[in-house]
Symmetry: C2
Subunit: 98 residues, 2 copies
DNA sequence: TGCATTAACTTTGTGATACAAAGTTAATGC
DNA sequence: GCATTAACTTTGTATCACAAAGTTAATGCA
């Protein structure tokens, strides 16, 4: 049986899962880009980003030239945790398709 | 981009996802079996089962002979919804592994 | 016959949290 | 100096996961 206890709750939430998926598929995303793509409110998006940062899954890069811009990206441990999470998804897919 | 809005919230919760995965992998499960496997409290388990029933994803079969026993199984639309959910998981895995 | 046991619930309470709306700060360009 | 914009923070609400304890009805045994 699949060990559902291992399913990372920080990642397994629609909003954060979508963020993680985006960050995993392409290196860096601006706050505005994430907001546009995911159609989240500022407050909701930043809150999710904060909890991902708190979990050390996501870090930021500030652009100093020009307008204030913050870019978000996965940390090493964020990549690792997401990979592990995907492993579980694969197991679920395999189990469910049997 | 993956359409995360389509991600079925009724299924996408750890407890209910584990129930759905079990029901998808084998036809029928007794309440007690689910409880033992998933290590959930009575209250928590039945609540999740209820919401799955409310969504018409799960139905029951009562055994009349002997001790009171309730068996749970996926409905046709439960199978369909789960299949659709798995399709999305596959997309996430594909996207995340790229 | 009645009592303990068990399955399958229901009820209740609590704590966590997703989400939106509105306000704040600081920098830019006109 | 004033409007605009990005990136926040704060606040409030509604939902909901989960546990604990209580309820009901049936069984099997003393």
């Amino acid at each position: 049986m699949i060990d559902f206890d291992k399913l990372d709750k920080t990642i397994h939430e629609k909003g954060r899962l979508s963020i993680m998926t985006m960050l995993a598929s392409r290196g860096e995303w601006k706050f505005q880009e994430l907001k546009d793509q995911l159609k989240m409110s500022d407050g909701n998006l930043i809150t999710h980003l904060r909890s991902l940062q708190k979990a050390s899954y996501v870090s930021t890069k500030k652009e100093l030239k020009g307008r204030k811009v913050t870019k978000y990206l996965l940390t090493r441990s964020g990549k690792k945790a997401f990979k592990e999470y995907l492993r579980l998804l694969e197991q679920i897919v395999a189990q469910g398709s049997s």
